[in-house]
């Protein structure tokens, strides 16, 4: 019983102070940002925008092959941007250790640069050999007409 009460109190305190604290930290941290971190922040937001594009494309495009374009490109690009942004932002001191972590994150980026087109190609090949023919222009126009 007592424990529950304490917990509720804690939660109330958290709720009441969360947003002002967040705002405070935002304003105070914006002052002592260095240029590399701002750059990383921008990269991360850009990656989010591209990922939004990929997600919307996955939803909107008419057939598997066109969805593949959205997924294969938007996905790899946004991953690369977000990872490099996070790598730049989390680099606090510029010691050898933090540089190594940054290089490792860039290693993941390289890994995705290599594997993402490959898995895209593999999936597409599998679908093609499974006699799923891609839509051509006529079918597409029909599908568009239906939507209207």
């Amino acid at each position: 019983m007592l424990k529950k009460k304490r917990k509720e109190q804690e939660r109330k305190m958290k709720d009441s102070s969360f947003i002002p604290v967040l705002a405070e930290t935002m304003t105070s941290s914006l002052n002592d940002l260095n240029i590399i971190q701002i750059f990383g922040f921008l990269l991360g937001v850009l990656g989010l925008i591209f990922f939004l594009g990929a997600a919307v494309g996955m939803l909107r495009f008419p057939d598997f092959y066109t969805r593949m374009h959205a997924a294969g490109k938007g996905d790899s690009m946004s991953t690369m941007l977000m990872l490099s942004g996070l790598g730049l932002v989390t680099m606090e001191d510029y010691s050898l250790g933090s540089w190594l972590v940054f290089v490792k994150i860039m290693g993941i980026v390289l890994f995705i640069y290599l594997t993402s087109p490959t898995s895209t190609h593999v999936l597409m090949k599998a679908a093609f050999e499974d006699n799923h023919m891609p839509l051509d222009e006529k079918d597409l126009k029909k599908a568009k007409g239906k939507k209207k």
């Binding site: 925008i49 591209f50 594009g53 990929a54 919307v56 494309g57 909107r60 495009f61 057939d63 092959y65 066109t66 593949m68 374009h69 959205a70 294969g72 490109k73 938007g74 790899s76 690009m77 946004s78 250790g97 190594l100 972590v101 290089v103 490792k104 290693g107 290599l114 087109p117 490959t118 895209t120 190609h121 597409m124 090949k125 093609f128 891609p134 839509l135 051509d136 222009e137 597409l140 568009k144």
Partner: protein
């Protein structure tokens, strides 16, 4: 000579992974790099007839190729974003399959070429059979762009300068 190159590259890889520079961990790294070189060094550098100088030149050209490719990737994503987000772009979409014949001979050059096609705007490699490549393309404009062969020329410059002179 090639096993030694593989060993040095793997050791560099280990140092990036490990981040520890004391003798114990470096010794473990040397042992495991020797082991990996022993069991799977024939995966890297498939074509062993090329000399070291040629390889260095190739690696440098490839490093110069990466920024150009990255720029193409950015363009690809802006293109997809346009198609997905705006109605006009959606209407322009006209997917088709295009067949092209490459002048590239070696497997690795074909691999780099196919993956570059996949990464650049609106085109994905579907099948590679011999020197015939089937590509899925999003619109007429992109097809013209693909058939002009800019990427192929770039890849040929890196890996097979001889082929380009003949053609």
């Amino acid at each position: 000579m090639y096993p030694f190159v593989v060993f040095v590259l793997l050791l560099l890889n280990w140092i990036i992974f490990s981040g520890k520079f004391d003798a114990f961990h470096l010794g473990l790294g040397v042992i495991s790099c020797l082991f990996v070189t022993w069991i799977s060094q024939d995966f890297l550098f498939y074509d062993r007839s090329k000399g070291l100088k040629e390889r260095m030149h190739e690696a440098w050209a490839f490093l110069c190729y990466i920024p150009w490719l990255t720029w193409e990737v950015v363009l690809a994503n802006i293109h997809v974003l346009k198609l997905a987000m705006t109605n006009k772009g959606y209407m322009e979409m006209a997917p088709r399959v295009v067949t092209i014949k490459t002048i590239l001979k070696t497997d690795f050059a074909k691999f780099v070429f196919a993956n570059s096609i996949t990464l650049t705007p609106g085109t994905i490699t579907m099948l590679v059979r011999g020197d015939i490549i089937h590509v899925h393309v999003m619109s007429q404009f992109l097809e013209d762009d693909l058939l002009s062969g800019a990427i192929e020329k770039k890849v040929a410059e890196i890996f097979e300068p001889g082929v380009l002179q003949k053609a």
